[in-house]
Amino acid sequence: MEIYLPIAEMSVQWIVILSMGLGVGFLSGLFGVGGGFLLTPLLVFYGIPSGIAVATTLSHITASSISGAVAHWKRRAIDFKMAGVMMIGGLAGTGVGVWLFAIMRRAGQMDLVVSLTYVPMLGIIGAIMLNESVKTLRAWRSGHAPARIHPVNHVWIHGLPLKARFRQSRLYISVIPPLAIGFLVGVMSAIMGVGGGFILVPAMIYLLRMPTSVVIGTSLVQIIGVAIVTTLLQATNNYAVDIVLAAILVVGGVIGAQFGVRAGAKLRGEQIRLLLALLVLAVALRLLWGLLVTPADFYSIAGS
């Protein structure tokens, strides 16, 4: 069964796209990640133009993040002030990112940007996850409790000006680090089609030293805000958002996420995390392969 995407101007097997949404949604429910970093390359492998994939994945992220944020909001586990500060940085970042996106696409370098940014990112994340899950599995096997990672005390952060009080996070810190983190994640959202949770969460825990209980909910609010604004900017500046593709991905994503949450409660997390690490590394290697291997045809074409 094929369905015609009006913006991408191509026909796709909708069942394949729905499965991608389901699968990535399942993983995001299981691991609490947005999954944009897997969905964008999957769509590109399928043949969706990089630009459309990057811009449309953000709808999937919006939906699954809202689904998750509602639960955190009910538990009052969101620091709206912190999310607001990061969002200001995020909006500036996404503005810069969408502008870069337009330049890259005009120059025919969008595929290169996607590959060049994804290879190191997925490589590093995959390696860290693989390392951690192997360590944990080994520790279990030998009967020792896994070692905990201690947050580093970043003295320089406390020397920065413009301090503000974040009551929910029980912090009194400068607004510059959250602004900078938000900016970075905003740029990434626009040019990579990711929510940025995998950067935000560790940065909030280890850099800002926020209490873990409010980190996920707060990062989700920031991600929702940036994803919504990026979608609007991509739609108005680059006409790169495909509503039919978005709808299929969103339906798959929200259903998959619910099954993922349920499965996560039952399954042994470490083993699944090992599989996810291998999956992430495989995607990185596939993209790296495309950059390094001599192409069969040196020429490629693009329509007007």
Partner: protein, 249 residues
């Protein structure tokens, strides 16, 4: 439209006592809908000889379907610092977005190369109107022909025109999913002795229809409203899913 369908254009070169070519297409409007996976049109026609004229010589029919003109950007990858990146590019303007040629015999057997080039018949005689490139564009043109052929947008089918009787002929022309919207031209040429004796051109329209068309227009005419609609859809679906699948706290 019906009057435009037949007899719309005869080439000026038609001799006075030539065979008459009459042709038509099975469908003059193709609408791309959400479940469009490609379709076929049939180009049919008849060659009517003048009474008493010697018709023993070989006659050939060539059917050409040309899509609307498009800009094709061809990029060449080069190795820079160990990785393959798009480096040189050539923009070929005015190439047909779709080109399908069916003929009774291979083109080489029908007419000499000069005649084919003169009438712009055959993939190899396709030339861009203008080129934006720093280099010799011929390798880029060849790459474009190769890729578009591979994608099923450029096709040459010798033997694709069949004569059902001494005078009636027919050709199937596929219109695959993913063709560009716009006005197409269906050209039918009658060749005798290596030259065009008669020709006809009929317009064919390919358009998105229904929801697809409206969504495309929406996205391009009111991008902000369109973006808001996409966001609203994602927000509502995310919110509904959190209600439907409320998990025990």
């Amino acid at each position: 439209m019906r009057h435009a369908l037949l007899f719309s254009l005869l080439l000026a070169a038609t001799p006075a006592s030539a065979d008459q070519l009459v042709s038509g297409v099975s469908q003059e409007l193709i609408q791309i809908t959400s479940n469009y996976t490609g379709s076929d049109i049939v180009v049919f026609g008849a060659v009517e000889s003048e009474p008493g004229r010697d018709v023993s010589g070989p006659k050939d029919v060539v059917v050409v379907v040309r899509g609307p003109e498009a800009d094709v950007t061809v990029r060449r990858r080069d190795r820079v610092a160990g990785i393959w990146i798009n480096h040189d590019a050539a923009k070929l303007s005015g190439m047909p977005a779709y080109y399908y040629l069916a003929s009774t015999r291979p083109l080489k057997a029908i007419a000499p190369a000069e005649a084919l080039t003169h009438y712009n018949i055959g993939l190899q005689s396709l030339q861009p109107d203008s080129v934006h490139s720093h280099h010799d564009y011929e390798p880029f043109r060849q790459a474009a022909l190769r890729h578009l052929t591979h994608d099923g947008l450029y096709t040459e089918v010798p033997g694709g025109v069949e004569f059902l009787s001494a005078t009636l002929f027919r050709a199937h022309v596929p219109v695959p999913a993913g063709v560009t919207r716009g006005q197409y031209k269906v050209e039918v040429y009658l060749f005798r002795d290596g030259d065009v004796e008669s020709a006809q051109s009929t317009p064919l329209f390919v358009d998105q229809t229904g929801l697809e068309r409206r969504l495309y227009n929406f996205a391009h005419n009111q991008p902000l409203g369109y973006g808001l609609a996409v966001v609203a859809m994602a927000v509502i679906m995310g919110w509904i899913s959190s209600l439907l699948f409320r998990r025990p706290a």
